[in-house]
């Protein structure tokens, strides 16, 4: 649960910034325009912020589902598969999101 609480506090801060950037600080139509998104991905500070948001939110989310599933059944095999499945799902999702960030920064074509 400590992981859940720590990622929760971080997620509240990071998601708040993300929502503010997507429609309050920057007008929504501008925020979702191709040029604006390209420029912010290639700002290393914002890229690090997005990557942090990705990791924190996915770890918090999948760990939360893991907690619910552990409560459902407490057999050894179920618990093992839930833990393995959580790690795989988290790594796969973070990997796919990180791919987007890396390709946006270093990828070819526009």
């Amino acid at each position: 649960m400590l992981v859940q609480y720590a990622t929760a506090v971080l997620a509240v801060a990071l998601v708040s910034i993300h929502l503010l950037m997507q429609g309050v600080v920057t007008p929504y139509a501008t925020a979702i325009s191709f040029g604006n998104i390209l420029s912010i991905y290639r700002n290393w500070l914002y890229a690090v912020f997005l990557e942090s948001l990705l990791v924190v939110v996915l770890v918090h989310g999948f760990n939360g589902v893991r907690i619910i599933l552990h409560e459902w059944n407490q057999s050894m095999s179920w618990s093992s598969w839930v833990d393995i499945g959580t790690v795989i799902a988290t790594v796969a999702s973070v990997g796919y999101g990180t791919r987007t960030v890396i390709l946006a920064i270093f990828g070819g074509g526009a």
């Binding site: 989310g61 939360g64 990828g107």
Partner: protein, 154 residues
């Protein structure tokens, strides 16, 4: 009855052990909605990962693609998509603010001190400030959703 320590306690209620509205108080409802909104947010985030990946051409892309981004924007940037975003803002704000309440209560920061048990035997943990925070979470979530509506449907 088996010998001491040999029978494992099983959770035989499954999901209905917590997703059950019968005889629930405000804190229990907040707990149910914390879990329901959490799962909903996770599903939205996974979808969001998918649609934002079209910025770089989707699962098979190699870099920023304006045509690919225009394609996915054409699908999600409409009234229905904006309605989904307003609902996402609503559940995210509730989940986050109620989560802060849960963390504060877990560390005992918003409870009154224990007292003698007196009729009608209501626990101090279910009183005043802690309870008010549930309503604060709901109210702020509604305000945030209304503000998102103004931004998205202007």
């Amino acid at each position: 009855m088996n010998s001491a320590g040999s029978e494992r306690v099983k959770n035989k209620r499954g999901v209905m052990g917590w997703l059950n509205p019968y005889h629930y108080n405000l804190e229990r409802w907040a707990y149910v909605f914390q879990r329901v909104t959490g799962v909903a947010i996770l599903l939205y985030v996974l979808g969001h990962l998918g649609d934002t990946s079209f910025f770089v051409g989707g699962p098979t892309g190699a870099g920023p693609s304006e045509s690919s981004w225009a394609f996915v924007s054409g699908i999600v940037e409409n009234s229905f998509g904006h309605l989904i975003l307003v609902l996402v803002v609503l559940v995210v704000f509730f989940h986050g603010l109620n989560g802060i309440r849960l963390i504060l209560s877990e560390f005992g920061l918003i409870f009154q001190k224990p007292s003698a048990i007196e009729y009608p035997y209501r626990p101090r943990s279910l009183k005043s400030f802690q309870r008010h925070l549930v309503w604060v979470a709901i109210a702020l979530a509604v305000v945030a959703a209304a503000w998102a509506s103004l931004i998205l449907f202007r």
